[in-house]
């Protein structure tokens, strides 16, 4: 099997038509990003201001109804996109940066370094799901910034594993030996010659992790461990609406739907990127 999918050539679509999943994913995500950037234009009302009676049902004036404090749920959902998208980007940046660094060093040097680092990664993988993020939150204290750090840290093992396995193949190539022979320092080889060749699997994983980070981050805020009132954050909004679910279903339902669409879109995008760029990874 060749490594054609790993080279930069793989970035072209190779004349193939874009899959419906790719188009749907990109469209939904673009819409959310634009809404987040232009929130003041997209939101009809101030997300923090009481502009009506409490718990008014969805109507032509208040598309998603109003919450317990008479705030416009639609405007709050629009502003909530800012919090969640930033959370997704920062968590992915933390996880990808630290995880790739570990994977790079581990796979490049192998031997004792690899053994020690990978045992550490195994230990991190022994925490199911959000448990590792919970430990970090417990240590740092509940806040939305700490949720970003916690979620980012909890994804380190998956990045480290992925990058390490790519590096193990890449390091055997002749051009790496060549670079070493002419005396290029290890750090430069890793950054200049090894890391760029892990770009495609990294891109795919980061896309998938982006959605998961938003979902887990919202979950932590739902539990009261993340964003605090009156921040318009989706998970927190769902939590607040939970107490009045029987009387005002819209307060929880719409922010939850927002999370669902973003995560769904990133999963669609991630999977279609994977199929387009690296068919060998398809059986994930």
């Amino acid at each position: 099997m060749t490594t054609a999918g790993m080279t930069v050539r793989g970035l072209t679509v190779r004349g193939r038509t874009l899959s419906p999943g790719f188009i749907a994913g990109v469209s939904i995500l673009t819409a959310w990003v634009l809404l987040a950037i232009f929130a003041p234009l997209g939101a009809p009302h101030d997300p923090l201001a009481t502009i009506s009676g409490a718990r008014e049902a969805p109507s032509p004036e208040f598309w998603f109804g109003t919450d317990r404090l008479g705030r416009d749920v639609f405007s709050r959902v629009v502003y909530g996109a800012r919090v969640s998208l930033v959370l997704g980007f920062i968590s992915v940046a933390i996880g990808a940066a630290l995880g790739s660094a570990l994977g790079l060093v581990s796979g490049y040097y192998r031997g004792a370094v690899d053994t020690v680092l990978m045992r550490m990664i195994d230990a991190m993988l022994a925490f199911p799901g959000i448990l590792l993020a919970l430990v970090v939150i417990a240590a740092l204290g509940p806040s939305i910034t700490n949720v970003m750090i916690a979620v980012g840290v909890s994804t380190i093992p998956r990045y480290a594993r992925l990058v390490r396995s790519s590096v193990l193949t890449i390091r055997e190539h002749d051009y790496i030996d060549a670079a070493r022979l002419v005396g290029v320092p290890d750090v430069k080889i890793m950054l200049r010659h090894v890391l760029p060749n892990t770009a495609i699997p990294l891109l795919v994983l980061s896309t998938l992790e982006f959605g998961q980070a938003i979902s887990i981050g919202a979950g932590l805020s739902f539990l009261g461990l993340g964003a605090q009132p009156p921040t318009p954050e989706w998970g927190l909004m769902v939590a607040v609406g939970r107490d009045v679910l029987g009387r005002a279903w819209w307060i929880s339902t719409f922010p939850g739907l927002a999370i669902f669409t973003v995560v769904m879109a990133t999963n669609l995008l991630g999977d279609s990127l994977q199929e387009m760029l690296d068919p060998r990874l398809r059986s994930r």
Binding site: R119, F127, G129, V135, V136, A138, A139, S215, G224, G256
Partner: protein, 314 residues
């Protein structure tokens, strides 16, 4: 052969558990934030003198060097002493055991729904490739990984408690109160299991022994259920170990959604109370349970797989 395999797996287990305990301990102690300050800011805020703080620090052994503290923590952990909850003033292990039953019932219920829905959908999707049920299995898988668990739980409450008054929206009395929380956990995993069952069954159906079974003239039902499905379910069994972890982690969210007492809700409260020994104890307990369950599932799969059972363990 099997004995040496078992010994190797147990040694690996010991290493992982040791590192898990180091990880929990060091994250909780090495990160910025003075536990005493954090704890007092929650519990006895305002009227805390420096003397009281110092006394508490001494009581909790926080003035000792970190390795000494870790040694004490580890010695406690292996002798089933996880310390005392600062807030509830009870041994952490007792608090865990009190709530373990409820969380286990929830997790097992979740696994049950996941298997029932996942395997059924997966088998039907494999047998009728390209049909509506195949499409449904794909949607189930996508929705499962995309839907926030807490939102799914609330939607189930909305539909099956408020609109159709079939199940209670909260609480932990009786089996009926277990249905919705287990279903929400199960649905999340059902999609993954359905896709795996489908892929695994399709792979098995082209094996030689299936062709042999057809050639013997066995009825369709026997070929599919006895010969194909039994072998196809082995990877699904291994997957169940991982899904059990998803159930434990999911319990953290689901128990809050459905107001059920359990380990998940206790750990969230412990974090909000800044009750360090309690958080540490529950997290260590959950991680250990997860690792041990996965080992057991792997061993079970090894026992059930004739290729491994009768030959050398892989």
């Amino acid at each position: 052969m099997l004995a040496s395999y078992l010994a190797r797996r147990l040694a690996q287990l010991a290493v992982v558990l040791f590192l898990v305990s180091v990880a929990v301990f060091s994250i909780m102690h090495a990160l910025p934030g003075d536990p005493v300050q954090l704890m007092l800011s929650g519990a006895e805020s305002g009227s805390v003198t420096p003397e009281r703080q110092e006394q508490l620090r001494e009581e909790m052994g926080l003035n000792d060097p970190l390795p000494v503290q870790y040694g004490r923590f580890l010695r406690g952990a292996v002798t089933a002493d996880l310390g005392t909850s600062v807030r509830l003033r009870q041994p952490v292990l007792d608090l865990i055991l009190d709530r373990l039953g409820s969380t286990l019932a929830l997790s097992l219920g979740g696994i049950l729904f996941a298997v029932a829905i996942g395997v059924t959908t997966g088998v039907l999707a494999a047998l009728k490739r390209g049909s509506w049920i195949d499409g449904f299995s794909r949607i189930l898988a996508y929705a499962g990984v995309s839907m926030p668990l807490f939102w799914l739980g609330l939607l189930l409450i909305l539909v099956f408690s408020f609109w159709l008054p079939w199940f209670p929206p909260a609480g932990s009395e009786g089996l009926r109160s277990l249905v919705l929380p287990s279903l929400s956990l199960g649905l999340v995993s059902a999609g993954v299991i359905a896709r795996l069952t489908r892929a695994s069954l399709l792979e098995v159906l082209v094996e030689d022994y299936i062709r042999a079974a057809w050639a013997k003239g066995l009825p369709k039902r026997i070929v599919y259920l006895r010969h194909a499905l039994r072998n196809a379910l082995l990877p699904v069994l291994t997957m169940l170990g991982l899904q059990f972890g998803a159930m434990l982690a999911g319990a953290v969210v689901t128990e809050t959604v459905f107001s059920r007492p359990g380990l998940g809700r206790l750990v969230v409260s412990a974090i909000l109370w800044k009750d360090y020994p309690l958080v540490q104890g529950i997290v260590l307990f959950m991680a250990t349970t997860y690792v041990v369950v996965n080992l057991l599932v792997d061993l079970l799969a090894t026992r059930l797989d004739p290729r491994i059972r009768d030959g050398a363990p892989a």
